[in-house]
Symmetry: C2
């Protein structure tokens, strides 16, 4: 069994090390991860800059490569270059330092890594911990990661694209895993204005992630209550309900 | 009425000029577009580089800004800086030089521009022409763009996130507009290997977009037949059918 592990925080982020330690219990692991953080890169692919792969070494059944591209690039190069066109059996992404719940999913490079896998029919799971810190404590979530990896592999299904988030809680305090939908939330952002030495303005996007979803059945609600959440994702973005309605409203 | 126009080919691409010419018939237009091409940037946002906005001038009821960020950044800066926190009434993106049909949607910066609008409840429409060339002929599609803009505004709905693609056909040959789902397709890619002068390998992703969808009711099929296609998109990626199934299969 060949497992590809990717992330968006970069190959040196502690989170990916923890995911690798779990994945290595299940099979041969190939890590192809960005050479530096690529947070917020969504499903970007690199088309105008040459992509580089650097072999970083092997430890037991784990082989490491870094890549100067995005998480989606990493998956593509893993398949095309390292695996010489053969797809891995599974793609696991993370463990991300920070939430990929609700609409964060859309901005996430971690999630894009698994969407890229799922687009090729590879069962793929993204893992994220609600703690941005590089000192985040991943130990409490590892038994849940292992449980979910086992469920993914054990299901025998190929049509898996799961987004998993963990609350930031100490050992033994996570109440369990809830299967649930993504919540609705918004980045309530400001563009923070600064001036460079030439007195030209520039901006930093900064903001708070604000839950707008009133439902108690979404990932944001369960995470607040201390549950891990698992949401299956679609790679077909068609809004079928809107399509049906449109067919009545607009006889083009 | 305030209309925000964005794209991912950059402010100097002919396609955005054509979209502006249509949008300006309906209201005041604000253009905030990348200062250079940002194809394949998906929903990436810029978190580690300062963002810059440059006012490029005003022509009639159209005000132009370029931005050094992604399409999603452009929408955010348009709202936060230029419109001082007020959302536009509509976001239109494109006209893209090249297809954003099927799973291209996922990689597309053009589509991300409208998803960013839709996430804030702004009716948003992405337009793409199946011709990558900078010399692409947009004239044949302009009456359709106008029809769709009118339909979007006329509907009075706020929950609009439409993805529109046009076949590359001469004047009068487009058969009409089909409302349809996204098709399934794959980038059958190769990583083309090169060597730099220091004899270090690098790679370019290159590939063909291959339709894997057998259905005749998807955007790819209709585009091949000479129709323009309109697909409403969801910003909630939850796979509800899979969620229901999982609740049976995995009593975590």
């Amino acid at each position: 069994m060949k497992i590809l592990v990717v992330n968006d925080d970069g190959i040196f982020a502690p989170g990916i090390g923890h995911l690798v330690s779990v994945a290595a219990k299940f099979g041969e692991v190939l890590v192809v991860a960005p050479d530096a953080p690529r947070s917020g890169q969504s499903h970007a692919v690199t088309l105008t800059t040459p992509l580089r792969l650097q072999e970083k070494g092997t430890e037991g059944n784990v082989r490491y490569f870094s890549c100067n591209g995005t998480p989606a690039d990493c998956v593509k190069l893993a398949v095309k270059v390292v695996l010489q066109g053969k797809h891995p059996d599974y793609v696991f992404s993370g463990i991300n330092h920070g939430s990929n719940a609700a609409s964060n999913t859309i901005y996430s490079g971690t999630v894009a890594g698994v969407v890229e896998g799922a687009l090729s029919g590879v069962p793929s799971v993204a893992f994220s911990l609600l703690d941005h810190s590089m000192q985040a404590d991943f130990e409490p979530v590892l038994p849940f990661v292992e449980k979910i990896v086992r469920a993914c592999i054990g299901s025998g299904r190929r049509d898996i694209c799961w987004n998993v988030n963990f609350p930031c809680l100490p050992e033994g305090r996570i109440k369990g895993i809830k299967l649930c939908r993504l919540g609705e939330a918004l980045w309530a952002e400001d563009a923070v204005e600064r001036e460079d030495p030439s007195r030209r303005k520039y901006y930093w996007l900064e903001g708070d992630f604000v839950r707008t979803d009133k439902g108690e059945d979404c990932d944001l609600a369960y995470l607040e209550q201390g549950y891990a959440t698992l949401t299956p994702l679609k790679t077909d973005w068609t809004d079928y309900a809107a399509l049906e309605r449109l067919e009545q409203e607009f006889p083009f």
